[in-house]
């Protein structure tokens, strides 16, 4: 993408004002890694949003609040009670990219292969958007369509709120790639709430092998009320085929990708259950 101008606003209000005035000729820049690959004939003004105090991770009540401009490497290194975000962040791209790429940049415009939307959907995260004042949105609402729709008027994503997992809650995520730094072939994530070995609630999401990250509700339905055992997980994972439109690619058929997703879901569920029963930190 061609940049005709580069500005560094000092406050959130200034950044929003600049983006509102620029309209389609403005582009928020955090890590900026994706901008190098975006096609666009019209040059844009880059609005640097990394100097607005939006890089932090804090535990606040029942949530971990992650500033939108926090690099993935900080999320990967952070440790809090029953923290689960580090695993997926470690699997995203390479060390050098994780050092600059931000959580906000990863989800403000969702590419089909993005991993974080999958994890945030399963985690029941909340997204904080600044439009003069801050408002919150559920991950279900935020990822119901391309989130870039929410930022056309200059509004900005400021934070991601991840619920602190309670005891008996467990989380697991699996990303399948051909090599360590490659884009995902399939990413799945699962959140389970167990009570006396029975699944009380479940959120399962997938991305990359489907057109857009989404929850797999038939898989969730096949889990709730059942025992948290492998046979149940297998049966639930088998519902993935009907839950989404699986798309082949990189020499793999749609059927192969679906099978890949099924075994990944099984794996994620096993991990989530192990976590819920009390994982070794």
């Amino acid at each position: 993408m061609k940049l005709s101008e580069f500005i560094r606003p000092a406050t959130l209000a200034e950044a929003r004002k600049a983006l509102r005035a620029l309209g389609p000729k403005g582009m928020p820049l955090a890590g900026g890694t994706a901008l190098h690959f975006m096609q666009g004939k019209t040059p844009v003004t880059a609005v640097d949003v990394t100097r607005l105090g939006l890089s932090y991770i804090r535990q606040k009540g029942n949530y971990f609040v992650i500033g939108a401009a926090t690099p993935l490497s900080d999320i990967q290194r952070y440790r809090g009670p029953r923290w689960a975000m580090h695993e997926i962040c470690r699997r995203i791209s390479t060390h050098q990219i994780r050092n600059v790429s931000t959580i906000g940049g990863n989800i403000a415009r969702v590419f089909p292969w993005a991993d974080l939307p999958v994890v945030l959907l399963a985690m029941d995260a909340r997204l904080v958007i600044y439009s003069g004042k801050e408002k919150e949105m559920t991950a279900d609402e935020y990822f119901s369509a391309q989130p870039a729709r929410l930022f056309r008027g200059g509004d900005l994503l400021t934070a991601v709120k991840i619920p602190v997992l309670k005891a008996h809650h467990g989380f697991g995520s699996v990303k399948v790639t051909r090599n360590a730094a490659a884009f995902s072939l399939a990413t799945v994530a699962a959140l389970l709430e167990l009570k006396d070995g029975v699944i009380k609630a479940a959120r399962v999401a997938a991305g990359s092998a489907i057109p857009f990250p989404q929850r797999l509700k038939p898989v969730e339905a096949a889990l709730v009320g059942k025992e948290a055992v492998t046979a149940v997980f297998k049966e639930a994972a088998a519902a993935a085929g009907a839950a989404a439109k699986w798309v082949g690619g990189e020499g793999m058929s749609a059927d192969y990708i679906r099978q890949l997703a099924e075994v990944s879901i099984l794996d994620a569920l096993e991990r989530a259950a192990e976590f819920a029963r009390g994982r070794a930190e």
Partner: protein, 172 residues
């Protein structure tokens, strides 16, 4: 393409400098134009790691960073780590191990290893792999690079506790 003159000011290898640039100039292009040619242009798309520099101590791809993003930051290139006459510790071990084939990836490898050595205290294999996962060697000479890095890290790790003891002893 705009003709507007822009400037960017950052600390490069300990020295604060101001450079003329364009909004869409990459940091890699600026650095090489200004004579920091140890930083290599490899793939130009954030895959190979030959252009790795440190931005505020963290390894980053200079090919995926606009020069303007470096404003007010600290940038370090391979020139700050060692020279032909005075190589750094890892560079000496690379030579001793015969790990340098075409050599193109080496500056990037050294910068990632520098970030590792200056940030971490314990050099378990998993941590080392994490820091080095964004650097490719297309001669595929990974084994000897790993041997050289391991030697450097083991030396540094064995030197560290001693340094701490001395410091504590000095207080007493």
């Amino acid at each position: 393409m705009t003709t507007t003159t822009h400037t960017v000011t950052f600390t490069i290898n300990g020295e604060k400098k101001t450079f003329a640039t364009r909004p869409d100039e990459k940091l890699l292009t600026l650095l090489r134009r200004e004579g920091y040619r140890g930083t290599k242009y490899g793939c130009g798309q954030g895959t190979c790691g030959a252009c790795t520099v440190l931005l505020d101590g963290r390894a980053t791809y200079a090919c995926l960073l606009y020069a303007m993003q470096a404003e007010g930051r600290k940038v370090r290139t391979i020139e700050s780590v060692g020279t032909f006459d005075k190589p750094g510790e890892f560079q000496k071990e690379l030579v001793a191990a015969g790990a340098v084939q075409c050599g193109y990836c080496i500056p990037g490898m050294v910068m990632s290893a520098t970030a590792l050595m200056e940030t971490e205290e314990v050099f378990e294999d998993e941590i080392v792999k994490e820091y080095m996962d964004g650097n490719l060697c297309r001669c595929t000479g990974y084994e000897k690079i790993w041997v050289a890095l391991r030697k450097t890290l083991d030396k540094q790790a064995s030197a560290k506790p001693a340094a701490k003891k001395t410091a504590k002893g000095a207080k007493k």
